[in-house]
């Protein structure tokens, strides 16, 4: 117990890194996901096929392999990225692919009459998307986005393998010094749980707020 308390400040600091990684990857992932979904729905030639391949590759391969590839792959061509940016890039690409599927579903679930109403006002396809369809689809996609974020929060532990000192790697560092894996891993697990639960709470509040007008 004492060790758990002693290691808490270091682990809490590392938790901030975890939250930061998740938040940054989520922000980029949302942008990637939305753009990918829009390209596929608008059926833009060539790009649409590329995006489909991207989603398929991400969904069909382990995140751990993707992280290794992004970090250790480029140096083979004399091109390299620091661990943190690599981690964020890999996580963003991963979550972006999954989010694009949620967005696609949400956009397609907006009733056809909404696009028609926008058209009758003289809007172009993309204006209608921006003003009418996408804002509505965000509401539909919100629960999935929230769940993806919680998933992402935990997936950040995988970037410990490319020497990003987030919560899990920090735990390993402490264990290497103290030889008390049970205590430290339990503390780390508790911290993950606290972060996820806190976010779940925020998510519920936001969803209730937003669903008032749907």
């Amino acid at each position: 117990m004492e060790l758990a308390l002693q290691s808490l400040p270091a682990l809490a600091r590392a938790s901030l890194v975890t939250v930061g990684l998740a938040a940054a990857s989520m922000a980029a992932g949302l942008a990637i996901g939305l753009v990918t979904a829009l390209i596929r729905i608008a059926n833009i030639p060539v790009l649409s096929h590329l995006m489909r391949a991207y989603v398929s590759i991400i969904r069909g391969t382990p995140l751990l392999v993707q992280i290794y590839l992004v970090y250790y792959g480029p140096p083979q061509f004399g091109w390299s990225l620091e661990p943190v940016p690599s981690g964020i890039l890999a996580l963003s690409l991963n979550v972006g692919a999954y989010l694009s599927e949620s967005f696609r579903g949400a956009i397609e679930s907006v009733p056809k009459g909404q696009m028609e109403a926008a058209y009758t006002l003289g809007m172009t396809y993309w204006t209608a998307m921006r003003r009418i369809i996408v804002p509505q689809s965000f509401r539909t996609a919100l629960p999935t986005i929230g769940n993806s974020y919680i998933g992402l929060l935990k997936d950040t532990s995988l970037v410990s393998v490319i020497t990003v000192t987030e919560l899990l790697r920090q735990s390993n560092v402490i264990i290497a010094r103290t030889w008390q894996p049970l205590t430290i891993y339990l503390t780390a697990a508790a911290l993950y749980w606290v972060m996820s639960t806190m976010f779940s709470y925020v998510q519920q509040r936001v969803e209730r707020r937003v669903s008032r007008h749907v």
Partner: protein, 255 residues
């Protein structure tokens, strides 16, 4: 006579092997109220939707307020013209299709602000005016989900009016409403007709048609079968098919 506001010539539309419009001609003059009636599947909604290219007609031309678009695939150039027509044509849907993420006021402001680039303050003033005109001053800041069907349809009419259209097309505007809410929508439409708004209305409301229609058009099987005043069509229809349709309407409890 003045230049017609709407001129539709030999409009044809097929869905697969089914020909829904078999060469329809329609001319509507400034200030005229035209009511289109006919059995379901007769092509009246499709005609309205083809006029704003919500359905793309296969043949024919549509001219609204001097802007002509010929039928055919939506190339970039044609799309440009279609949007021009849409900016000058109001459309009121059976299912309202208000934007659920916006308040009534924002719904009415959306077209002018986003499409016509009217300054926000000005669009807002005008939207407030229009909403008071349709009797919704007290509900301006509510979202559609908190309005009754009749209120939603009145917002939709205000939204159409906000674009200052040359003509408004109504596609069965009261068919989705509970019976007790039909009256308030028809009342708003009556007021518009009196003010001289040019309107084309697909409806089954016969009493209303008798009241406001300058002309009633009967459609069946993708074609116009009879045109006349409401009085003439309802009391002495020339066509057997009109007679059959009307007797069915009376039987089904029309006033």
């Amino acid at each position: 006579m003045s230049e017609p506001v709407v001129q539709v010539t030999s409009l044809r539309k097929r869905f697969g092997s089914h020909e829904v419009l078999k060469g329809v001609d329609l001319t509507v003059h400034q200030g005229e109220v035209v009511v289109i009636m006919g059995p379901s599947g007769s092509g009246k909604s499709t005609l309205l939707r083809c006029m704003t290219f919500l359905e793309v007609p296969d043949e024919g031309t549509v001219t609204i307020d001097g802007r002509t678009v010929t039928a055919g695939p939506l190339t970039k150039e044609r799309m440009e013209k279609v949007r021009d027509i849409r900016r000058h044509t109001g459309f009121v849907f059976q299912s309202f299709n208000l934007f659920p993420h916006m308040t009534a006021l924002e719904n009415v402001m959306e077209g002018p602000v986003t499409v016509l680039r009217v300054p926000k303050a000005e669009a807002r003033r005008r939207a407030e005016e229009l909403l008071s005109k349709v009797g919704l001053t007290d509900h301006m800041h509510k979202h559609p989900s908190r309005l009754s069907g009749g209120q939603q349809q009145r917002v939709a009419i205000a939204r159409a009016l906000a674009m200052s259209p040359s003509v408004i097309l109504f596609d069965e505007p009261t068919s989705a409403l509970d019976p007790e809410l039909v009256g308030e929508v028809l009342q708003v439409m009556r007021a518009l007709a009196r003010e001289g708004m040019t309107m084309v209305i697909v409806t089954h409301e016969m009493a209303f048609a008798r009241d406001v229609a300058d002309r009633v058009i009967m459609m069946d099987d993708g074609a116009i079968i009879e045109t006349g005043s409401a009085e003439q069509i309802f009391t002495e229809p020339r066509e057997e098919r009109t007679r059959r349709f009307l007797s069915r309407m009376w039987r089904d409890g029309a006033p």
